[in-house]
Symmetry: C2
Subunit: 349 residues, 2 copies
Amino acid sequence: MAKPPVLTPRAQDFPRWYQDVVAKAELAETGPVRGTQVIRPWAWAIWERMQAEVDRRIKGAGAENVYFPLFIPEGHFRREAEHVEGFSPELAVVTHGGGKELDEPVVVRPTSETVFGEYMAKWIQSYRDLPLLLNQWCNVVRWELRPRLFLRSTEFLWQEGHTAHASAADAHAYAVRILQDVYEDFMTEVLALPVLTGRKTAAERFPGAVNTLTCEAMMGDGKALQMGTSHELGQNFARAFAMSYLDDTGAEQLAWTTSWGVSTRMVGGLIMAHGDDAGLRLPPALAPVQAVVVLVRDEEGSGARAARIVAELADRGGRVRLDDRVDTSFGRRSVDWELKGVPLRIEVG
Amino acid sequence: MAKPPVLTPRAQDFPRWYQDVVAKAELAETGPVRGTQVIRPWAWAIWERMQAEVDRRIKGAGAENVYFPLFIPEGHFRREAEHVEGFSPELAVVTHGGGKELDEPVVVRPTSETVFGEYMAKWIQSYRDLPLLLNQWCNVVRWELRPRLFLRSTEFLWQEGHTAHASAADAHAYAVRILQDVYEDFMTEVLALPVLTGRKTAAERFPGAVNTLTCEAMMGDGKALQMGTSHELGQNFARAFAMSYLDDTGAEQLAWTTSWGVSTRMVGGLIMAHGDDAGLRLPPALAPVQAVVVLVRDEEGSGARAARIVAELADRGGRVRLDDRVDTSFGRRSVDWELKGVPLRIEVG
């Protein structure tokens, strides 16, 4: 009788296959609070590389990194009507701090337009201060009813860019630049995923946006996944937070803002787009280990040969690992590396 | 009449001088929720370099990065008696999520020993799984009564390492290794701060620890600042979370754990240790801009000369910036760069 497959076959039950990969490749587990997740070393190392690659492109687009607080006063959300309506059902609220009930409840950020708005309004005085291009890497919380690891978790990690511009045209151009030069370029060149870019319909737009641009990729089940979005916010947040500046004639003008983000959801997209019935498959640029040298049996100098291959590949800048666990069965070890999606496996001995 | 100094002199009022530097060098501002902070681009760029340097050393000590959730069930804290007592007065508590009151309140992590404990207990089965060396970079929240930017904020950023070992001796050796090879080496070589390492008294120990090792540095006011700590937790957390393993004789043993961290407080320490009455002073390894070329007047080819110097220094791998704001007074520009602590200023024209 054939052994049962390590993973539920994709064709049989795709969501189940996804869960199997996440668990058996030791990528993530559900956290102790419903909807949260524990990201394990292999998946974290992939995310670290994603971060580095996206960050490099964001800096290339002229934005600077900052850090805004996790906690936002509840009142901030009420300043922009559509925004509060869009996020209210998803908020996590802190009511007690330091052993006392708080005078004003505090929201754990679901996104930071409102607090960026408050401070950018202070920092922008004149047209010389524009464009103001900021980004942060942080965690955000949205209370999810149907959580799925990486794809839809109560807490997730992302970058959120927030920018202010002197005109609607500048804001539009920058939102498009992020979509193309940062997101599309990263997804094509690093994730090795062709993406479709386009506009969301009015009903699908980000709460408070006037235009939402999106990058979508096709998954192994034939469904599209939203991988990143870039929003034009018009003057909605600038108005709510009095973000005005003096133009070169000395007249007061309201700024135009954008916001944009990609998240740990991309790890889920990577799994669903590239994975197969043997497990994850990683593009070499992202793989924590690009080549594994598996020592089958340590006989007749094979151990030394394996070590030499590892050293040679490492010398050329590769991320290489030696698997010399000869007391574990070869089959078991092969399955391990296939589950983890290491691009190249070299067997010695 | 002499102009008033840009900063309160250190000798006159050191805490005031510190606040002045943080504000005028545009390092950080207080956030909208009491005790939180907004970290601006210059300080964030310094923190990014600190992170990269500490992270490289942590990986060198064999630990792998992971990510654990922001939210911890309140009950987790009650499992280790000293730990709950130590943190209770500082906790921020989420009571509402998704528009409903939660069945069990959720704590915003003040540190993650309890949740690491729960999962490490699952991942550790045999002596072959030890040592398990994990680290995460994240935000934590402790409700502070007397917040000070970078030094003592309600939310701060840090790395927290959590490890499990087969013996007290191994745990001790690893806690010392982190203290010396990671923290002391980083502080000496990168922060350019000689530190004193030693042990905390029993009363000052981390809640739940059996031994707390510390790195302390001397600040400009003659006071010592705790810059990082490395804790031996004995078997306290292993017992609370049933973190046991089978040793090589097949007998069940309780693991020994450590935890250790450095935080954005180091940015405050850097300011207070190196700063002077003109502002921040940055070690070249951390400076976002290592050399600024200030074009005094754009006359007789000085603009081209300045640009050439910038290009030459950048070619050699330096982080260089050209300041060609010739319509701003030279004095104002000099003060700007002195406040920001750029190590080298080259004036042309």
